[in-house]
């Protein structure tokens, strides 16, 4: 019975409690999660706990392999016949509580061999939305009473800054929101995954976009095209007239066709992160590079900081929340960044090549051509 139940849950994309696999204990007390297994609040918390753990472990595996050549007989565990992992190659895990309700788990790996700074954060919070936040949601089209309203939010968010400039930075975030007013509860999902390469590799960009497209297509075949454009529009640095990276998908306010289907869609997207990104890490983490490429990477990381501090809604919303855990919000910033006055890439250089794509987003999967052919 247990096994067929497990299989059924998998087929339904229903999350079950897997305490031993998570990076830390769930935020909500376990008995409460077990009492309400079908509540979307439970389902989302279990999803983000699982996604966080799977992603951290996938990154640690890359990091650990990179430390292999450092290993000596002292690191060998004879009882279990394995090499002990390098402590520097492991995520530091901080489980934190929020006074107003809820909390989070922040996992950060800093100064690794493969990853210069990797942050994977989940938070499950509830409380009362200040009127300004309600106002902002109303301005986005939500029909909500104009008052302080109780809310629930659960999300996973990660930014990975690799050391090798040939490995792109990835960011993703998937979140679920509930607000209650006199007419009842409103809920919606939001999220996205996007890639920021320092040097353009078209195959990588195509692989990344294709993986995201597959995750979208399984649910709604209009999603990828819409959310790809939304991503290009969102990650835009107006004062420079350039995008943060080569895009991906981005969406908000998803509340259709129904809650279970929307959850399955978000699950597919979150599960697509590893297959979209880890192959690029494996492919390029040992690529050759020199001082020049590192300098360029640092300059581009400066642009990443500009976008996140000036335009990212999540960062601004987070930091303007009283008693915000700013260390978790700002873990998205790179370990190192650089600002040079008037740095202009040389004509026909590799640096100019990526700049062109950032100024003029590409149709990576040739969707327009395919549409024209179909018409």
């Amino acid at each position: 019975v247990a096994y067929s139940q497990y299989k059924q849950n998998k087929a339904d994309m229903k999350e079950i409690v897997q305490l031993r696999n998570y990076m830390a204990e769930p935020i909500t007390p376990i008995d409460q999660l077990e009492k309400n297994p079908d509540d979307m609040k439970t389902q989302m918390e279990l999803l983000i706990l699982r996604i966080q753990a799977e992603f951290c472990k996938a990154l640690e595996k890359e990091e650990d392999q990179a430390w292999d050549d450092e290993k000596t007989v002292d690191d060998y565990d004879f009882d279990n016949d394995i090499f002990l992992p390098s402590p520097e190659a492991k995520f530091k895990v901080d489980r934190w509580q929020r006074k107003e309700g809820g909390g989070g788990i922040t996992c950060v790996l800093q100064d690794g061999r493969v990853f210069e700074k990797a942050g994977v954060n989940i938070s499950v919070v509830s409380g009362t939305l200040p009127p300004a936040a309600v106002q902002q949601m109303r301005s986005r089209g939500k029909k909500l009473e104009n008052a302080e309203l109780p809310f629930f939010a659960a999300g996973v968010s990660a930014v990975i800054h690799p050391r090798n400039p040939m490995v792109p930075t990835i960011h993703f975030n998937y979140r679920y929101f509930e607000v209650r007013d006199k007419d009842g509860v409103q809920w919606w999902f939001g999220g996205g995954t996007d890639l920021t390469p320092y040097y353009l590799n078209e195959e990588d960009a195509k692989h990344f976009h294709l993986t995201l497209k597959h995750a979208c297509d399984a649910h709604d075949d209009t999603y990828y095209a819409r959310f790809k454009k939304w991503c290009d529009d969102y990650f835009y640095i107006p004062h420079r007239g350039e995008r943060r990276g080569v895009g991906g998908i981005f969406f908000d306010d998803i509340d259709s066709p129904d809650q279970q289907s929307a959850f399955k869609f978000v699950t597919s997207c979150a599960e697509a992160v590893i297959p979209s990104y880890i192959p690029l890490v494996k492919r390029h983490k040992d690529d050759a590079y020199g001082y020049h490429e590192r300098q360029w990477q640092l300059l581009r990381r400066g642009r990443y900081v500009e976008f996140n501090l000036m335009y990212d809604r999540g960062t601004k919303f987070g930091l303007h929340t009283p008693q915000a855990r700013y260390e978790s919000i700002l873990m998205s910033l790179p370990l190192n960044a650089k600002w040079e006055y008037m740095n202009v890439p040389k004509p026909n250089s590799e640096e100019e090549k990526i700049m062109k794509v950032l100024k003029e987003p590409r149709d990576w999967l040739n969707l327009e051509k395919a549409q024209r052919a179909a018409a």
Copy 2:
């Protein structure tokens, strides 16, 4: 006659055209400046041209001395019996025009021996204020018609990031503003000078504040105390609960007791920059430091970036202006910055000492004690 006129001008703090001393040609055509010598627009443009040149030359002198040990006989100019200056130790000068009216002169010295990045910028611009900017001024208490209004603005602004962590970063900005509505022209001055040390040196902080206080006291003996507090309040990073540095002075909307007196006050402040700062550079530019101090400096530079991109009114106003020259606005950002997750200074360390001052601003000149004694 010429000499007594010159002496009189000096006594009046009246600016005269000194073409040969400026970093580049004035922004306004010279005949126009010469036709309206007493117009405040002319006076302010000449002031900022002079301040820019004097400050750049004072910094170049420090830089040049640092390159002395590199000099060989090839760098010797036998005709003039001097060593040629090192080209790396000189400001790069960009004179730029703005399509809508006016322009600026941006001077940047990057990757020097003493200064990692030094930017000294002037701009003299005119045009039409968008309604949002007028609205913002009205909300600050200005009685202005609610419409698009013609304006004039002239200002000098500088940020100096030295290489040695024992030398503080300095920022200053002095500006003059005119707006015309149906009731006539309104004008005001704004500005300030503030210091951001990486390690606390109380003598330095006192010298800095005392120099600014002298500049203020000559005009109004309530200015220093008021503008010191304004500075502490302004350079505040709310999400971290800390200030950017040890303060200085900051003011806006100065339109009393009369235009000439306000101009003289701003002139005194701008002239106080060199004596407040250059002695600190000379004192510490060859101080010993190591990897640890450099890392701390880079982390603190990350905070500088956070303040400038998220909270600084000038940066935000500038970057949101259509066709802003973002390279001139962002020259304030350090060449290198760092963000570490959960960096907390060790108890009783030098790093903790400066953090305490940033969380709790000090009364550097013991004014409160002096006031109590006087009462």
